[in-house]
Symmetry: C3
Subunit: 471 residues, 3 copies
């Protein structure tokens, strides 16, 4: 049918004309501000090697768990998308066939942010003029494939074209950070920085925890057979990350539970978990203790701490066994903060030297717990809407449910939080538009002056992220 | 005062003119589509006997727990509404007196869906021209009473007038389905089908559980003294329902908790609950086990499974003791799914042959749990907003909180879920309008193309229900 | 910069022109209705002595925990705001310096209700014409200070200027009510009434519980060494409050948990808690038992009962230890009602003689629990959005999530719930505007007739509060 593809220039703005006009004006002032991406999952190797991406399928479909989950939910087997099961042969499906299958199911994404991000990518990066549907699948596949062969579609060129001022990756505690070193050594001026994510050495429920802790010692040149040595090794790794530009750490435990044991108890607990004999209650306590330890180190070394709790990773055990992590089977759970964070806050919550940014997948906590906490404790800030809530409605709910209690200045701007590099401009475009829409509604509703809205639009688009992440 | 009664032709549409015009255009295309009613509580005897209804009070007030609850909350005794207490004489209140009492309190329903449904019924079915208030109570009572004597107000005539393509009732596992058999035998072409609701034989907390299980065996010609016989008896009843047109089962446990025990444990548990010696934990476990058993049978026989958890039935024990069930005293509770459904999902969640439709009274689960689950597991779909949330605001919250993660195609269209037969057109009218309003907002906000909205409007009004319930 | 300060005459109204025009018309009819303030925390001594307030800082900043919390969250030490720590010297900071600090941080309140209330106060009470910012801080401080020296800014003059029909304070069970007696004796016609808040003699977790109970006996002339005497003493205090005009009681336990023990058990429990030997479970049970006892007394003496559960008081223990209560460190928690209230409701919920008004800080309970409960039990009503939710968005969420199930007539109008006397007109102005906005949206959306909206606007502004609190 070859129906035209276009991006509504007023997309995501309020419906009301007065508010819409104002949102448009506010957005015009921030649309082209540089992008701060303080939290995400892009691969630093892209920028180290600057190698070309190969095709639409491996670039846009296969690594995107938002797409995999939706297709799978409607009966598309992962094998048909070229995801190889551990018990199976590599799937022979050609990238072009997979892309056609994706195009045939593209209507599933109607009304979702994936659709908005992809269409933005298609129009603004690949200059596509018709909608993705079965009839245009080959045209898309060819056009994208052709574009990717060109120099200006290489990672570094796109980094600049996207207006990225800084891009943070997320890296395990044991990561040698070779790509980050290579980028630094290359002379390329793009600012790509690591983020310290130590879950693999702080979560005793990981299968490879004991090995990881041992490797941590080896890498850091400390004996991790003792609690003190383990802490020293972590501090050493943090210092290494910091030397490569990191300004933040990130933590993804199943809950926000924290603890603050005395040294004797902490030491004994460490011995238990290291021995592999710990109960479930003990491993949970250990994770909680490590959050407080990390917060202490944050005060020492100035790293901003991010907490992303509440996802039940790999909820679908059959799928996990066959295909591994990050296939769209992580499901949020009820998450509370007021009780869970108390030990950490009792110890460190009054310190402005600590900056702990809280995220949630449980929106019921926004107005009930998170805004009141962030609106009181100097150490706390609220991260932007996360994951499933990184969407037009999700962002509006976030602003409506947090601003009146926490204000704007206890929030930290936008995180794109993506491994989909090509979607970064789309995500920031969407976030900036929704924030301008919200501000325009406040002004039109007599709740904010227009000059304040202009100042806030710039803060939300760039200033707050820069300040909050100490960039 | 005899103030005019009218239905705003733009009711429930967005306020913004552009979006409103678009909603109007979308609705015009779906307004007259046939009605699929895949889940509800109408009485099949109405269609078997086609007897006339008698008066406004017994038709519209006394069976409607939405009305009873609100009147009772404001101090109207149920006796004054002609509801007979078990410890009392039948109330002498005449239907006309009760109707007057209802009219005197009609203002209580301002802003509620009951008001919208009733006004729609008054205008479109009874052609009433003035509002219901004390001064017009007798006029209403007389006009409705007169209409009900006419042929075109008999159940079958209305079934056709309402444009019902299919109407599912809800029937206990022990129900002989006599009315359904009579309808089938009558030659009347209306499609009225049963739904298998086995709670009375799967919930050991029912007072009559042991007797019910025994009767189940008698009806099915199996010995239910054994676990195997009990399962065979259930399968047999399902087959009977299916032979009379049923395509679905329905389950209303207090929570969504599921279990998947081995046969030995299941058998032992069955013996415990049948003996009446089971603890509360064991009866709860048994209900959970039976959900998984029912899901297995669904894969075998193709019946769609509906789960309506989380209502505390008969919360008001004094009222329950005096007046029995369904008097408006069922209250929702916190309900979680991610943990509760895991045993069933581990066993069967990856099967597209299972279709399990999830409902909730706890809206905090929409975005946090239900949309992520339905947006991943092939077996899961999301039922429409249920009960207290079957309303303009409730429907908008549902769409806003589920669409961005689960999309539209993991939802199943509308359920009227009513025992109030005369309200069925009103409820579908409201649901179609709200869906068109939501779609119009997406289009006006640059989030959907207008041709897609048209296709979706038809899917939400009819297509998805037909497909999801395998009708 | 001296930017002009103005209040948008259409503030808080819908953006859509049609709905906005209607909201404006509805508001014009209720804007100047007398103010009913049935629950709040103003100091009755103000009206007893009618002494002048002294300066902007001690009047508007230091007692306002909304302001303290936000400033503190952004790193402003409480000492710098003139709050004296228990371990420190009185802060030498002059009121003017503190006001300047406040002005320098005024932007933190953008988008919050504090900003809306303060700007309304500045414009309508102090006739200020420019915005508060660093450049205008001194002008503000001088202008407000000068105004406060004038007769018409004395408490009684303002009470009349504000159009207060009745103002309820909140008073501990041991309060001698001297100020209320003085007001009564003064001949001044303003109606300032006490509210009986017995938490200090019903919560065994208060440090001074045992002493308080003994003092209760002394004041009431009963021996509180026995359960019967304790109950008699409470009844006597209630009678005293009632004789001074009280029509309500108020209760602020950590949860909504209730209990209904037999006399023997209750007596034994009282002995345990009085002895100081009670476990945490026992003190919790005792609080629950006392709610039911208070409800029984409410039926006896006609006092309306208010329940404000779910705040974790003094969550920040360091801050509490240094600065004491009410410094902005109270944080809400998950709060449920359906299970918690059952014992009380089983005993008394069907009585229209009991009026129990429920509040919440956990909005997830609005649609799930509170509206269904209030829409059924004759004893229950829903209080207005509380504390963090006393805001434009908070009020809209409340109406949208409660009206469709509980209707308007199970709600009780507005509570300003403030210790900030000068903000009372601002708070009622905001509440009336938001209610008119909601009603206008219902009418414009075809969900309510315009004459009904007019009637409801007056009920929500004044009638429901008057009726619900038996004023």
């Amino acid at each position: 049918m070859n129906r035209p593809l276009h991006l509504d220039p007023d997309r995501f703005f309020p419906l009301d004309d007065r508010a819409r006009g104002l949102a448009r004006a506010l957005f015009a002032e921030v649309e082209h501000l540089p992008i701060i991406s303080p939290h995400g999952h892009t691969d630093p190797a892209w920028f180290a090697t600057d190698a070309a991406f190969t095709d639409a399928t491996s670039l846009l479909v296969q690594p995107d768990h938002y797409l995999l989950r939706m297709l799978y939910s409607q009966g598309v087997p992962l094998e048909a998308l070229g995801i190889t099961p551990s018990d199976g042969d590599p799937d022979p499906a050609a990238p072009r066939e997979i892309w056609r299958l994706f195009a045939a199911h593209y209507r599933l994404f109607r009304g979702t942010p994936s659709r908005a991000w992809l269409d933005h990518t298609f129009v603004t990066i690949f200059d596509l003029k018709v909608r993705l549907e079965p009839e245009t699948a080959d045209h898309y596949f060819d056009a994208i494939g052709e574009a990717l062969t060109r120099r200006e579609f290489r990672p570094r060129a796109l980094f600049e074209r996207f207006g990225l001022e800084v891009l943070a990756t997320t890296d395990g505690a044991l990561d040698p950070l070779g790509s980050h070193r290579a980028i630094a050594a290359s002379g390329w001026p793009g600012r790509v920085i690591p983020t310290f994510r130590p879950d693999d050495v702080t979560d005793p429920d990981r299968e490879d925890f004991a090995i990881n802790v041992e490797r941590l010692g080896d890498i850091a040149g400390e004996s991790t057979a003792t609690w003190r040595g383990y802490l020293r090794a972590l501090a050493a790794r943090r210092a290494t990350f910091r030397s490569l530009g990191a300004t933040a750490t990130d933590h993804g435990p199943p809950s926000a539970r924290t603890a603050d044991l005395g040294t004797t108890d902490a030491k004994a607990l460490f011995d238990r978990v290291r021995s592999g004999a710990a109960t479930a209650a003990e491993t949970d306590l250990f994770r909680g203790q490590m959050l407080t330890e990390m917060a202490r180190m944050s005060i020492d070394d100035g790293m901003v701490m991010q907490l992303h709790p509440g996802s039940w990773r790999n909820h679908n055990q059959t799928l996990f066994a066959r295909f591994g992590r990050d296939k769209g089977a992580d499901i949020p759970r009820t998450t509370t903060y007021v009780d869970a964070l108390k030990p950490l806050l009792d110890a460190l919550g009054n310190s402005s030297a600590l900056r702990l940014i809280l995220f949630t997948l449980d929106e019921s906590a926004y107005a009930r717990e998170l805004a009141p906490l962030a609106g009181h404790y100097p150490a706390l800030r609220l991260g932007p809407p996360w994951w499933f809530h990184d969407s037009v409605e999700g962002m509006m709910r976030y602003r409506r449910q947090t601003t009146e209690t926490a204000g704007f200045y206890n929030t930290v701007g936008f995180n794109d939080d993506t491994r989909a590099f090509f979607s970064i401009p789309a995500r920031h475009d969407l976030a900036r538009r929704v924030d301008c829409a919200y501000l325009a509604e406040l002004v039109t509703g007599g709740r904010l002056e227009v000059d304040e809205a202009g100042e806030l639009a710039a803060d939300l688009a760039r200033g707050l992220a820069k300040e909050a992440y100490r960039l």
